[in-house]
Symmetry: C2
Subunit: 533 residues, 2 copies
C-alpha cells in the first residue's frame, strides 16, 4: 500500500479531482534550501490531457452563451475565496518560490491577483469588451465572442499574478467565456493546486459548467505539443522561457491557432546627460531598487542601461557597482533560473562584456547568484548586438556606455522587440533634443514607453500595454495585462448580417441589455438603446 507521500496528487478535470493517469511524478524544489518539497505531483500524460480537452470542449458549449454576469459571479466568488486563504497561499508560494512573504507575496502580488480577478469580473459583467458594433442602415452587427478552450502556461516568476489557474491569462480567458486548461508551472505546483481547490469550489458554488477549469501538471514535450495542436483547443496563453515557448508556438502556427506568448525582454533604460547632472545619484539608487527587486526576476526588469560617456555616467556606474556588491543577493526561483543566469552572464562576458561585480553562484544549497553588473561600450555592443541583448533573467544588468545619442539610437534600432523602454531626462529641457531622436526609435521597439520611472511596475490599467513586438510577445497588437483589452486575445469576431433580432446575441439587439454596455452604433459610442432599424 502506498503511503500518502508516494501517491501523486490528483488532477482537476471537469470539476473533479481525479487520479492522474501516469505513474511518473515530480517534486518542486525549495529554492531557499535546495531541498525537494515533500508533496508529489504527477506528470500529466496524454490521457490526462485528452480528458482535460474533452471536458473543456464540453463546457464551452455552455460557457460561450453564458451571460457575462454569471461568469462575473464565478470570478468574484473565486476572488473572495482566495482572499480568505491568503495565509495558506502565501506560505505555499514562499516555500516554492522563496519570494518574500511581505511585502511581495502577501501585500503586493496576492492583492493584485485578487484585483485582477475582480476587474475581469467587472469586464465580464459590463460586456463593453465585446466591442458591439451596429450598422443600422446595412443591418449588420458584430461583436467579439468566446473563442473556445484555452490552455494557459504560467511562468515561474509570479506564483500568483500570472498563475495559470488564477492569474491574468486565466482571468482574461474565463471573463471572455472560455474554459481553461491550466498547466501548472513545475516550480510552484502546490500553490497552483491550492488555487485549483478554490476554483473548483467557486465553480460549484456559482453553478458554472464543471469543465470551465482544468488543472494539469508537467507534461512531456510530446504531450505538450499534442495538447497545443489538438483541434479542441482554440488558443494558448504562454508566459515563460523563450526556447520552450517558441517550440510550442511553432506547433500552434502549423495549425493556424492563436498563440499569445510573452517570451523575453531586456527593457532598455536610457539615462540622458541632463538627468544625470540633475539627479544622478538619486537615479542610481532608484535603478538599484528596481533592478534587484525580486532578485531581478521580472519580465520588465531593467536589464540594459544606456548612457553617453561622462563623469556623471562613471559616478552612476560606480554607485550601482557599490550597491550591487554590498547588497545581499536575493534567492532565485529555482535551480534552473540559477544555472540559466550564470550561463547568460558567461555568454555576455565571453562576447567581451567587462564583469564589474558578481557573476558567480553563491556557495551553498540556496539558489543564488551574486548581484552582477556588466559593462560594454556602445561600439562593442554594435559589433554583436544579437549576443549583447541576451536576457540575463535575474539580478544582473548590462551597462552600455556610448559615444553619443546617435550611437544609442543605433543600438536601439538593433534591439529585438521589448516589453518596455524607458528614458530619463532632465526637467529643464536640455535633454529634449536627444529625447526626441531616441524616443522615436524606442517606441518602434517596445510596447510601453516610460519617462523618468522604472518599468518594473505594471499597473492593471485599461490603458496598459504589457506586450510588445516579437520576441517580447508573439503579436504587437495585444496586451496581457490591462482589462478589458487583454480579453480580446481569447475572442473571435463574429458578424451577424441581416440576422433576425430575436436570434442575435443580447448585446447586439436594439435594447442595451445592461443599460451600461458601451456599443458603437452608426459610428458613435453610446450606452443607450437604439430605435428599431
Amino acid at each position: 500500500m502506498n503511503t500518502s507521500n508516494e501517491s501523486p496528487r490528483p488532477v482537476l478535470i471537469g470539476g473533479e479531482w481525479v487520479v492522474a493517469s501516469s505513474a511518473k511524478s515530480f517534486r518542486a524544489t525549495n529554492p531557499s534550501t535546495g531541498e525537494p518539497i515533500p508533496s508529489l505531483f504527477p506528470v500529466s500524460d496524454w490521457s490526462d490531457c485528452n480528458k482535460a480537452l474533452a471536458s473543456a470542449a464540453s463546457a464551452f458549449r455552455e460557457s460561450r452563451n453564458l451571460p457575462g454576469s454569471r461568469i462575473a459571479d464565478f470570478l468574484d466568488d473565486y476572488a473572495k475565496r482566495i482572499e480568505g486563504e491568503k495565509d495558506a497561499l502565501v506560505a505555499l508560494a514562499h516555500e516554492e518560490s522563496a519570494l518574500p512573504k511581505s511585502p511581495r507575496l502577501a501585500d503586493v502580488e496576492l492583492p493584485r491577483t485578487i484585483n485582477q480577478l475582480r476587474l475581469a469580473a467587472e469586464a465580464a459583467r459590463n460586456e463593453s469588451w465585446r466591442t458591439a458594433t451596429i450598422d443600422r442602415k446595412a443591418n449588420i452587427r458584430s461583436c467579439y465572442r468566446a473563442l473556445g478552450p484555452i490552455a494557459v502556461f504560467g511562468p515561474n516568476n509570479f506564483p500568483f499574478a500570472f498563475n495559470s489557474i488564477a492569474g491574468g491569462d486565466f482571468a482574461a480567458a474565463i471573463a471572455a467565456g472560455n474554459p481553461v486548461i491550466a498547466k501548472a508551472n513545475s516550480s510552484h505546483p502546490g500553490t497552483t493546486e491550492h488555487f485549483g481547490k478554490l476554483a473548483a469550489a467557486a465553480l460549484r458554488a456559482t453553478g458554472m459548467p464543471e469543465g470551465l477549469v482544468q488543472l494539469i501538471y508537467r507534461t512531456s514535450h510530446e504531450d505538450g505539443e499534442r495538447l497545443v495542436a489538438d483541434p479542441r483547443l482554440a488558443a494558448v496563453g504562454y508566459t515563460g522561457a523563450r526556447t520552450a515557448g517558441l517550440q510550442l508556438k511553432a506547433v500552434a502556427d502549423r495549425v493556424g491557432k492563436p498563440f499569445y506568448a510573452e517570451l523575453s525582454s531586456v527593457n532598455p533604460v536610457v539615462f540622458l546627460p541632463g538627468a544625470l547632472r540633475e539627479r544622478g545619484v538619486k537615479l542610481a539608487e532608484e535603478f538599484v531598487g528596481s533592478g534587484l527587486m525580486g532578485a531581478g526576476q521580472f519580465c520588465t526588469n531593467p536589464g540594459l542601461l544606456l548612457f553617453i560617456r561622462s563623469d556623471e555616467t562613471e559616478q552612476f556606474v560606480q554607485t550601482v557597482v557599490d550597491k550591487y556588491t554590498s547588497t545581499a543577493a536575493g534567492t532565485l526561483l529555482s535551480p534552473n533560473v540559477e544555472s540559466s543566469l550564470v550561463k547568460s552572464i558567461q555568454v555576455l562576458t565571453n562576447a567581451g562584456a567587462q564583469l564589474l561585480t558578481g557573476g558567480t553562484k553563491i556557495n551553498g544549497p540556496r539558489c543564488a547568484v551574486a548581484n552582477t553588473v556588466l559593462r560594454v561600450t556602445g561600439t562593442q555592443m554594435l559589433t554583436d548586438p544579437h549576443t549583447f541583448q541576451t536576457e540575463a533573467f535575474g539580478n544582473a544588468v548590462l551597462i552600455a556606455v556610448c559615444d553619443s545619442h546617435q550611437q544609442i539610437v543605433s543600438i536601439i534600432e538593433a534591439l529585438e522587440g521589448n516589453l518596455t523602454g524607458t528614458i530619463y531626462s532632465d526637467t529643464q529641457g536640455h535633454d529634449d533634443h536627444d529625447y526626441i531622436k531616441i524616443a522615436d526609435a524606442l517606441e518602434q521597439r517596445v510596447g510601453r514607453v516610460l519617462n523618468d520611472k522604472m518599468p518594473t511596475g505594471v499597473a492593471v490599467s485599461p490603458a496598459m500595454n504589457h506586450g510588445g513586438p516579437y520576441p517580447a510577445t508573439s503579436h504587437p497588437g495585444f496586451t496581457a495585462v490591462g482589462i478589458p483589452a487583454s480579453l480580446l486575445r481569447f475572442a473571435k469576431l463574429t458578424c451577424y448580417d441581416a440576422v433576425r433580432e430575436s436570434r442575435l446575441p443580447e448585446i447586439l439587439r436594439n435594447e442595451n441589455p445592461t443599460g451600461f454596455t458601451w456599443r458603437s452604433i452608426d459610428g458613435k459610442w453610446t450606452t443607450g438603446t437604439i430605435e428599431s432599424a
Copy 2:
C-alpha cells in the same frame, strides 16, 4: 536595341519607375481568348525586392508620424484620380480578367474600390481607429500606431477591390500610416500598373514620402519568402490560394511576424424545410444568381448547400441543375483557375460525389468550365468531411442532402473555418427549433452569420467581418473588410506610461486634437477634451 515589346515594364520604387533588375519576364493571359496580352512585365528578383524594402523602411520613418489628415489627403487624391481613369482601368481589367465591364467592373467593383479608399481616408482623418485609451489617475495612455512596411499580395478575383495597390488591404495599411510594397497579381499586372501610375501621381501631388508605395511583380518562391522574412518588413496582407499562402505564412511565423491571410472558404448555406415549403423556387433562383455571379469566383461564393431530404429539396436541386445546365458558363479568370476548378471537381467526384451537371472544361481557347452541380448525402459527407469540403473555386456547387437537422449540425461541426455561414428559414417560426441548433454550431465555424440572404455581398460597413476561423483566415479576431476595423491588423499597440504631455502623440494629449476623435477616457467613450490630470 530592344523594341518596346521586348523590354519589360518598370517597377515602382520610392516614387520612381525604375528598370527592373532581372531579365526574366512574363505576360498575362486574356482569359476570353487564351492568348497572351502583349505588355511584358518583369519578374522581380531579389534586387528589386531589396530596393522596395529599403525604400519602404525609409518612408516609414516619416509616415508613422504623419497626421492622419495628411494621409487622408493622399487617399482622397488617389481615389479621385482612379475615378478619372475609370474607362482605362475597366478596359484593362476586362482584358486581363474577362470580368464583365458592366455592371461588374464599371458599376460595382470600381465604385466600391473608390469608396473604400475614401472611407480609409475618413478613418485616417478621424483617428478614432487608434482606440486612444487614457487612464488619468495612473497617467497611462495608449493607442494603436503604425506598424511598419506592409507587403500586400492581392488575389486574382478582384482586380480592383482587393488589388494590392488599390484595394482593401492597401487602403487599410496606408490609412494606419504604413508604407506598402504591393506585389501585383500575375493575372492582372496591367491593371495594377495603371493603379501604380495614379498612386505615384497622388504621392507627388500630396507631398507624401516617396517610398510610401512600391510596386513589384511576380517573384520566385525563394525571393517571395526572403521578402516576407526580411526584418524591414513588419507584416503581410495576403489574399489568394491556400498552398502558396501557407508557405509564406510559415516563413512569417518563423520570424514572429503578423501574416494576415485570407485563404479559402466553402461558405455553407443551410435551407431549412419551412423556408423551402414557403418559397423554395424563389430561393433556388436566388441561389443560382449568387452561385454563378462572376462565374462563382468570390471568396464568399456559396459552395456548399445543406438540406434535409424532402420533395421540396428535390425540387430545389432540379431547379438548380436545370438553370446551371441552361445558363452559359462564365469565363474564368485564368488558365490556372480553370485547371484548378476541374481538378477540385475531380477530387469531389473521386470521393463519391454524384455529378448532376457540368464537370468539364468547355472546348475552345476561352477559360471556362461548364456550370457544375455535385451531390452527396449527409452520411457520405460525414465519412470524409475533409475531402468533401475541398473548395471548388469557380462555378461549381456541392449539395449535401441530409437525414436530419442533427446531421447538418454534425457536418457543420466537421467543417474547417469559413468566412460565412447562412441559414434560410421560414417566416412563421416552424424552422426555429432547427435554426437554434444549427446556428449555434455555425457561428463557431464562421466569421459572418447570415439569415435569408446570399453571402456574396460584402458590405463595407464598420460592423462587417470579412474574416473567420482558420483556414478561412489566419486569425479569428480580425476583418479584412470594414473600416476602421481592418486597419487594426496593421497597427501596434503602444503605451505611454508617465510620458510628459508635450511628448505624447497628439491623440493622447489632454486636448482632443480633432474635436471629433473618439477616445476612451477613464472607461468612458467621448469626443471631448480632458482636464489636466
